[in-house]
Symmetry: C2
Subunit: 239 residues, 2 copies
């Protein structure tokens, strides 16, 4: 009975276990509540123990990003460049969307980690495989920007609507006076059950719309043989 099961010592931590626990905990309690202390407690360990596995909190967050980016589905083989890129980015979106805090953390990173660079490299490779020049690919990547991760900044964070209907009506009138166009847009959207119910748009639609505008634009420039040294801006010049 003095076998290895005698003392049920917790399996020793390692970097990967720490990172996965951090992701899970952030999912659970939110990224703001994720501290070295809360994570340590979750792992049944003293806060300083974590520093044996990550250098500091920044590196912890970097690692969490790597875990998520690692969840992105691999590129589709044999597809048209546009479909392939579209699909890849949408699957990045899926990966990021399953962790509500992900976009915030990705945006806050200062240095790209290897896994992140892998993803970007593969995306660039897809443009190149589609015949894009290095030049156009470069600008296209920049134009995608954070959309390559599958998220867009929430534009109209819902201000708290008053519960009292009378107060709400009054506030509505007030808003309509100052922000006529916003109100027009918000109310128009809520008519149908379509793409844009007021107070909460169809994010997926909005995302794909923007992505397609960009990809279509890239495609057109590519077909035109656009070159950054020729005309500085893509504008016009369809015919």
């Amino acid at each position: 009975m003095t076998g290895p099961a005698k003392t049920p010592r917790r399996a020793p931590l390692n970097r990967d276990r720490v990172l996965r626990a951090a992701v899970a905990l952030a999912d659970e309690i939110g990224i703001d509540a994720l501290s070295m202390r809360s994570l340590a407690e979750r792992l049944g360990v003293v806060p300083m123990a974590l520093y044996k596995h990550v250098a500091n909190k920044e590196e912890l967050l970097d690692g969490m990003v790597e875990v998520i980016v690692g969840e992105i589905a691999p590129p589709a083989r044999g597809a048209d460049w546009k479909d392939a890129i579209r699909q890849r980015i949408l699957s990045a979106r899926q990966a990021l969307l399953s962790h509500r805090w992900a976009s915030q953390v990705v945006e806050s990173r200062r240095h790209a980690t290897p896994v992140v660079l892998d993803y970007m490299d593969s995306l660039i490779g897809m443009f190149r495989a589609g015949g894009f020049s290095v030049d156009l690919t470069h600008h296209a990547m920049h134009a995608l920007g954070s959309r390559m991760w599958g998220f867009t900044q929430e534009l109209f964070p819902t201000p708290p609507p008053p519960a009292d209907p009378e107060a709400r009506a009054a506030m509505f009138d007030q808003l309509a006076a100052r922000y006529p166009h916003i109100i027009e847009m918000a109310t128009a959207g809520s008519r149908d059950g379509g793409s844009a119910p007021g107070g909460g748009c169809d994010d997926q639609f909005e995302f794909e719309f923007a992505l397609d505008v960009l990809l279509d634009g890239f495609e057109r420039l590519h077909r035109q043989g656009w070159d950054s040294t020729a005309r500085r801006h893509p504008t016009g010049a369809t015919a």
Copy 2:
């Protein structure tokens, strides 16, 4: 000699003075070093005094955004919708660029403040004045996303390049093996003094490129009478 100048009491603070001091201090010492304490010290006041003028730090940051957004040049009158919007966004860019921390703070805001809504409302109004449907305008605004503020996420944060040339060459080979496309892009850009020198692209060019791809895309959809209920995605359908 018992006049009002006898005791040189500091003019009492007010919300506006606090916000402007915060902006100036953030410009000076960086947004990370801006704390209620450091700001209070700069104003020659005890930290808690600030809470008589702003509810908490979040509201301070909101107010700082308002100050900056207030610096955006008013819309150009009488211009084509596209030029007008282009110009307005580029002037937003100018305003935000003069405070390096601005984009980070804007992105972190959860609730839009009145001044922010004013800006968005005016942008929407410009689309509408250009004949855009409410529907298309809505999606266009979402597609612009944070680009309406004139910034793009920095995509390739420069990893520290080793000083020793031999080590640098070794690292280069290693990177080239793992990230062939990234390296191709980075090195191709550095050939000419043009738009994309390695290690630091021409941000302004990249920004305008992306903006123009989007605006051109919107224009095309507008001319086609695009409607979100017709086809879900803008893709193709030029001819």
